[in-house]
Symmetry: D2
Amino acid sequence: MSTADPARLTGEQQLRRRAAIPGLLVQTPYLAWLGLQVQRYEPDDVATRLPFRVELSNDGSTYHGGVIGAVIDTTGALAAWSNHDFERGTRSSTVSMALQYVAASTGGDLLCRARTVRRARELVFTEITASDESGRVLAHGIQTYRIA
Amino acid sequence: MSTADPARLTGEQQLRRRAAIPGLLVQTPYLAWLGLQVQRYEPDDVATRLPFRVELSNDGSTYHGGVIGAVIDTTGALAAWSNHDFERGTRSSTVSMALQYVAASTGGDLLCRARTVRRARELVFTEITASDESGRVLAHGIQTYRIA
Amino acid sequence: MSTADPARLTGEQQLRRRAAIPGLLVQTPYLAWLGLQVQRYEPDDVATRLPFRVELSNDGSTYHGGVIGAVIDTTGALAAWSNHDFERGTRSSTVSMALQYVAASTGGDLLCRARTVRRARELVFTEITASDESGRVLAHGIQTYRIA
Amino acid sequence: MSTADPARLTGEQQLRRRAAIPGLLVQTPYLAWLGLQVQRYEPDDVATRLPFRVELSNDGSTYHGGVIGAVIDTTGALAAWSNHDFERGTRSSTVSMALQYVAASTGGDLLCRARTVRRARELVFTEITASDESGRVLAHGIQTYRIA
């Protein structure tokens, strides 16, 4: 009745842990308040949607840049988790992120896609694009995320 | 009867317009929800405080990175406005921002300082530091803000 | 025999001006020393190659990060020029750039691709990827370039 | 006659190793070609100078942005090394860097200052400013450097 070595996860255990992340993440206080939805969570390929609310805006229709930044950050983090090897640890944080705000939003939901550019030992490099519902790019970013 | 040329503001008009910005900004929907407070608004030198609330956190005590990013973005924007020449226009947006998350917060208010590195014609370059109440740096960023 | 209004360029004049940029750029002193080659220069889609030389390295085989940064910066700038409307001016500079160094190079030429994410009035937002000859990504960046 | 545990360096050994870094770095091929000089190398506080040469320019007088980026990257790296604990390893690389080009240079040497914002376990966060000889800021950056 020995338990499995935590450093030797089966493929199934890895998949189950990975799969649990989005549900855990969106229940954390700030993301629950934002109302972020995970729409796609494939290995290294993630999509989220943020339903529009006036409280997320500057002026009733344009998202505050900080809201877009939070969604980009979180969607990049999900890309990092989406193919993570849980034998390498679970302590995580964003190390750095750079954003370009390329157009102002004009109402409607925010759609975000992230992909992994590369996985190094502790660091995962992601790229993230935020668009409006018509597909127009609003912001674009690169993120360095650490899980160890 | 004659109105002043809008492109020829007196020094007093400039000062009044600048001084109005913080009050307007913190009433916009997202910032009002955050509860951001402007504590210092000198030319090119701004400080803000975000009182801690569980809703702003990942886990009840650590700020979500996106909240810190929003405060950094807004504090940088305030630095840009704090010495702005209103004859140059009032349409504004963050063009780009890069952040480093250098330590996790562990509860308590978030304190943010921004200064202007340089003003070009339409672009203002700012640098922003976010700390906890003990002065420990949590995040550090550079921002390009546009007012035109 | 009046000359054409400089602000009213024909389509052919636009194309000719755009087409002249790569040749001019690679003859500027630093890029000529680097030996940068432009391999593809389609609208918003540019590829460059940097033939390896020991002088560009840290140690005889790994590119100095600053060399990779210079190639990323220049390739992004070429993407900005590759579809530029010359009626909007020709004074140019990089406003901001963020880079991730995701893997160390191990010899061989550096290949760089850039695309335009969005064109605003004076600002062009580009994304750039640098790879080795096997296609492995070495660095990844986003750039804000200004032409006015 | 036991040798010292390599993981237990004396204070003097630490100082000697740290002190050796600038001399080693400026002899690497690319930096030797640039001609970078280290003018100050105090713990977490570094200054460098790049003597102007036409080959480093776009046009005979303005530095190529990639040259400024290389100097910023290297000066940040030196700040990371300047107070490094050599028991934590010596494999190093820049993880990410974000730059703002705030003014064009107009000839003369490039002066660069870097300081450490924070040291985490493997990551060092630095801030770097490049100026001309009159003290005018030309570029400003933040860097995440890894030594492990």
